[in-house]
């Protein structure tokens, strides 16, 4: 049977909607409840590597030791890197323009990604000292810190 020269192009729009619920575990829960209730940030120390890791976790990525010693880090930190996001996607947590940065909190050997705010983009520089601004309403997740701002 001969095909028509012009065939209708069939495209179908669908959504896949899934609700998940991530459990933080005991150490993760301690991190989040301490953030929420005490406005303190915890990392975890590997005694073998002599490193303090953020986020806190139960196994050291470098040496596979079991980690138990949570230690307070920050609140001040140093900006290791940053970027200005200038386009908006539905999945972005904020509308552009906004700044993401990696902050190495004092006492930690690894960084934390978060928003950098209350500063002009041309004044942000690597090595800048920053401190967290806590949200008034805190629920036990990373947005209990609203953003980091220059000291």
């Amino acid at each position: 049977m001969s095909e028509q020269s012009k065939q209708e192009i069939f495209e179908v729009d669908q959504h896949l909607i899934a609700h998940s619920n991530y459990f933080a575990g005991k150490m993760g829960s301690k991190f989040y409840t301490t953030l929420r209730d005490k406005k303190k940030i915890l990392g975890v120390k590997c005694l073998k590597c002599n490193k303090v890791l953020w986020p806190p976790r139960k196994t050291c990525v470098f040496c596979f030791s079991e980690l138990t010693q949570m230690v307070e880090i920050g609140p001040y930190g140093t900006l290791e890197s940053f970027t200005l996001v200038t386009y908006s996607e539905p999945v972005h947590p904020r509308k552009a323009p906004f700044v993401y940065g990696i902050v190495k909190l004092d006492g930690a050997d690894t960084g934390m990604a978060h928003f950098i705010d209350e500063v002009d983009i041309d004044r942000i520089c690597i090595g800048m000292r920053v401190r967290p601004v806590f949200s008034k309403e805190r629920n036990g997740n990373i947005l209990d810190i609203s953003y980091f701002k220059p000291v």
């Binding site: 575990g25 993760g28 990525v61």
Partner: protein, 389 residues
């Protein structure tokens, strides 16, 4: 196989409906530490780490990348495997390929599911073709319910036969400290449980479990030097079935069904004429009771249509002549990503005589584990106690 491959250690978590005390990687780490302990090996001796779970079930992609610390995978080769419900077993197949090839000596195979964390109904619907059937996605229950209705109509089996399978599974699970549903139930309990999709009742169906399993494979030289009770992988078989064709739920279908075809292939490879005599224990993949009866037939343990008579006569009980799923099976523990690996690991425990209270009383030299999913994509693995078995 180019080189012989042995299971030299393994471990699993205590599978449960809720594991709020651990996050995904911590749960997986429990199984891995248990496996390393069992093998008396350190993580540094592992060459490759393979990890598997149902894609996106926990709402996170690239779970291998997110679990590098807990898996000891930092700087090491390894890949993530996703083959649906069979993935636990195909990960062991992939691990065996790594070792048999001669390229690696020791492989850690990990499989898990933290099922409570994800929206499994929604994600599972993503397995259905978006334009052909997704809106009607029946979920596993509808799937196996159709198999059950076809089986009853064709062979005259009754709902009681399904209940017998459910009872055997959970009573076996009571002897397995790691199993999820350790239920002291009888046939009446099953027949009184809530009807989900006729003929499948609540107790005819597998649970949703949180759990992980880890198995360590090595080459013959390492196995003989380091392991007191190596369990040998003698043959593996995997096969894809065609998409769209879901009539493997119709028990009278004449089309090639790979749960049947793979068994013929593996029997041919091993020179098996009577599987019920050749293998001492079977660990098969039964998300629903009816699936087990069809497995009996697909594995050639009885003639087509006679599966329900085997359960009726107690032939497949833990102390019967053909023990099937002494661990309690998928019906008792279903952390989907790990379930197929648990079939292999539980079979290995039987060979090692390490299954504790759910150890079958008879001598175990050879086992067969199976898994399938979706379109009837099937995987089978034969294990043995010695290389002469």
């Amino acid at each position: 196989m180019n080189r012989n491959v042995a299971i030299v250690g393994g471990g699993q978590t205590y599978h449960a409906a809720r594991r709020h005390d651990v996050n995904q990687v911590e749960m997986v780490n429990e199984a891995i530490r248990a496996a390393l302990q069992d093998a008396q090996m350190s993580i540094d001796e592992i060459d490759v780490i393979l990890i598997s779970n149902m894609e996106f079930f926990e709402g996170t992609h690239m779970t291998d990348c997110w679990m590098v610390d807990g898996c000891g995978a930092y700087g090491k080769p390894g890949v993530k495997i996703t083959t649906g419900g069979t993935v636990g077993a195909t990960t062991i197949c992939a691990g065996a390929h790594h070792v048999a090839s001669g390229l690696f000596d020791t492989v850690l195979c990990v499989a898990f599911e933290k099922q409570e964390e994800g929206d499994t109904g929604a994600i599972l619907s993503g397995v259905a073709h978006p334009l052909w059937g997704r809106s009607l996605a029946g979920a596993a229950v509808g799937y196996f319910a159709m198999m059950g209705s076809s089986y009853m109509a064709t062979w005259g089996a009754k709902e009681e036969h399904s209940a017998m399978v459910a009872v055997k599974a959970r009573q076996n699970a009571r002897k397995n400290p790691h199993a999820h549903l350790k239920l002291d139930i009888g046939i009446e309990d099953v027949l009184n449980s809530r009807m989900l999709a006729w003929p499948i009742r609540m107790l005819d169906m597998c649970p949703a479990s949180n759990g992980a399993c880890a198995v360590i494979l090595s080459d013959e030289k390492t196995a003989k030097a380091r392991c007191k009770k190596p369990v040998w992988i003698r043959a593996m078989e995997t096969a894809h079935n065609e998409q769209f064709e879901l009539d493997w739920r119709d028990v009278t279908t004449k089309r090639p069904i790979f749960s049947k075809a793979c068994s013929s292939r593996i029997y041919k490879k091993l020179g098996v004429s009577k599987p019920s005599e050749y293998f001492d224990v079977f660990e098969i993949y039964e998300p629903a009771t009816w699936a087990e009866l069809v497995w009996y037939e697909n594995l050639g343990l009885c003639e087509p249509g006679e599966g329900f008579k085997l359960i009726e006569k107690g032939i497949t009980n833990i102390d019967g002549p053909i023990p099937v799923n002494p661990s309690g099976g998928v019906l008792s523990t279903n952390c989907i990503g790990a379930s197929a690996m648990l079939r292999v690991w539980e079979a290995a425990l039987q060979i090692r005589r390490d299954a504790g209270r759910h150890q079958v009383p008879k001598d175990v030299h050879r086992t067969l584990s199976t898994a399938y999913g979706g379109t009837n994509w099937t995987v089978m693995m034969a294990l043995s106690k010695t290389l002469d078995d």
